[in-house]
Symmetry: C2
Subunit: 338 residues, 2 copies
């Protein structure tokens, strides 16, 4: 049996999968991320979600060859710790997630990776990026994350590459959740879009966004809330999504001018929810900014959908001892994010 | 004897060097680029400049192991042609530069490369980028060119990567010479800066920029003209250079967020002319945009100065036959530029 486990740890959801030797999902489960109890509560919930996915796949978690986690925050894969995961409850100091989760799932070895890097890797190896050697992954969700594969290999720089959400699309522009000005995420991140919608609503702008949110029993403008508002013809929602798309076009165009990849894969909560028609709109918004526009990259919808992050995590392999000369933060091994 | 020739073909200048086996310049010469006569006149002038450099080095051009050319325009290195070199006189159709120049210099084999790519390669192998494995080259001149080295190898994408001048720094912003809006080059390219200065002067803004230009016998605002105007405290010149620097900071910050290189090397006509104090100003303008600002890249002045492009060209090796599966435009071999 060569089943592996993968967990995508998000601020609102924990997505777990079990994949077979070919990377095909044979069981999956989704839990809410605990809003209280800090890292131990989150770890317990991850184990529970993985247990459910394993049960669906007909295996024991203890028999999994490996368990990978795609995590936000600052990951030290060698040490097996996650720190500064600011959209998780009370998770600032380094927490030994690999060791604690391994215990909680019956001893399977746990590897940690950056959430967006593993999702890009999954799309590259198994999803929309499969036919290509050089791929830019763009994950349009609460923030705007990126992943880069060049000549078949992930490019992580010194551990902080692919921050497409923090490309400057408008110098002296809107304030980004990261504290800087004019970043792509300040216009296109779902968090920024929600903040802008709230400001507009407070100033008397008519919108059903927040009514839809309440009706759905949500406390945030989720991708589903945005989708419903757009279906209903809500003007503010349409305007803010149009704006996000136009800035995504500029930011992705910039990245294409720098990297000249064969393909751009659009994923993330909003990307997956809105689907192909919006990927086409993003492509159209990108084209006016592409320098080599006689030969633009393909722009494709992520093929693994909501399961991409967890599937990519399942592809993580247990860390091997590193040669001493390897610099700290090399590869995807330690990466600071929000 | 292992002397090699290198020529940097620019819109205003032809810079030729002869280097020894270690890449050290042992002879150099600079000629004006002919403004008439099209490709044949330019080729003859390149041969003359190389002859002068060879004479200074005490060698015959016919004895050179190889001659490399860093060229603007669309280069087909395999075919040995250059097309669409729009800042050269009457050079739109593909011209067999490699064959014609080889004839004119007594038979030495001629290789063609992209001007900015070869300059980056020179800084990486012999200049300021030597201690690093991943380098972003930024060439601040008439336009803003870029070159990327990742893990010790040039990254050219499908032939059109590293177009840092066409990163969007201000969506819906100033018109770029490339026809697009809001590109870095629209704010920081010397061509755009001159156009803006002319518009301001026509609208009655006081400036000595054009007087200095005439006094120097120039028809364009060269780097020397800008430097003199700034030394004289010309307010418009100071303002436009400040503006260029602030946009360079945003554009380079974006590229750093995407690539996370170890070092950024600043070259080009303006970069080299303004020197270290301005490199420091560019670094300061970049920092507010760098996401992983606890570990920013080094920002360094190009060490090879005006000779970097020609030295990099001298490092070019004659083209080997390509395997059939290699895609057209792979590597630095065919690259569209202005």
């Amino acid at each position: 049996m060569s089943a592996r486990g993968g967990i995508d740890l998000g601020g609102t959801k924990i997505q777990a999968v079990v994949v077979n030797g070919r990377g095909t999902v044979i069981g999956d489960a989704r839990h809410q991320t605990p809003a209280n109890g800090g890292p131990p509560a989150v770890t317990a919930e991850m184990a529970a979600a993985l247990g459910e996915a394993a049960a669906a796949a007909g295996v024991e978690t203890s028999s999994l060859v490996s368990v990978g986690v795609g995590s936000p925050g600052v990951i030290d894969a060698a040490a097996g710790t996650v720190a500064s995961a600011r959209n998780l409850n009370d998770w600032i100091e380094p927490f030994p997630l690999a060791a604690e989760l391994s215990k909680a799932v019956g001893g399977a070895p746990v590897s940690l990776g950056n959430d967006v890097s593993v999702a890009t890797d999954a799309e590259f190896k198994l999803g929309a990026g499969k036919p290509y050697k050089s791929v830019l992954g763009v994950f349009w969700g609460t923030g705007v994350g990126g992943g880069i594969v060049l000549n078949g290999k992930p490019w992580n720089g010194r551990g902080a590459a692919a921050e497409i959400g923090h490309i400057v699309v408008k110098k002296d522009g809107a304030r980004c959740p990261c504290g800087r000005e004019g970043c792509l995420e300040a216009y296109a991140g779902r968090g920024s879009m929600e903040a802008k919608a709230r400001r507009e609503a407070e100033q008397g702008r008519k919108t059903d966004l927040f009514k839809i949110m309440e009706k759905k029993g949500r406390t945030r403008l989720t991708s589903g809330v945005w989708a419903k508002a757009i279906d209903d013809g809500d003007e503010l929602a349409i305007e803010l999504v149009d704006r996000a798309i136009s800035y995504l076009g500029a930011g992705i165009g910039s990245a294409v001018n720098l990297l000249d990849p064969e393909a751009v894969v659009i994923g993330g909560g909003l990307g997956v929810r809105f689907g192909q028609p919006y990927v086409e709109r993003i492509r159209q918004a990108m084209m006016p900014h592409v320098f080599a526009d006689e030969r633009p990259p393909e722009v494709l919808l992520a093929a693994l959908g909501d399961l991409g992050g967890a599937t990519g995590a399942a592809l993580l392999r247990p860390e091997r001892p590193k040669p001493a000369r390897r610099s700290v933060g090399d590869g995807a091994r330690s990466r600071a994010r929000r």
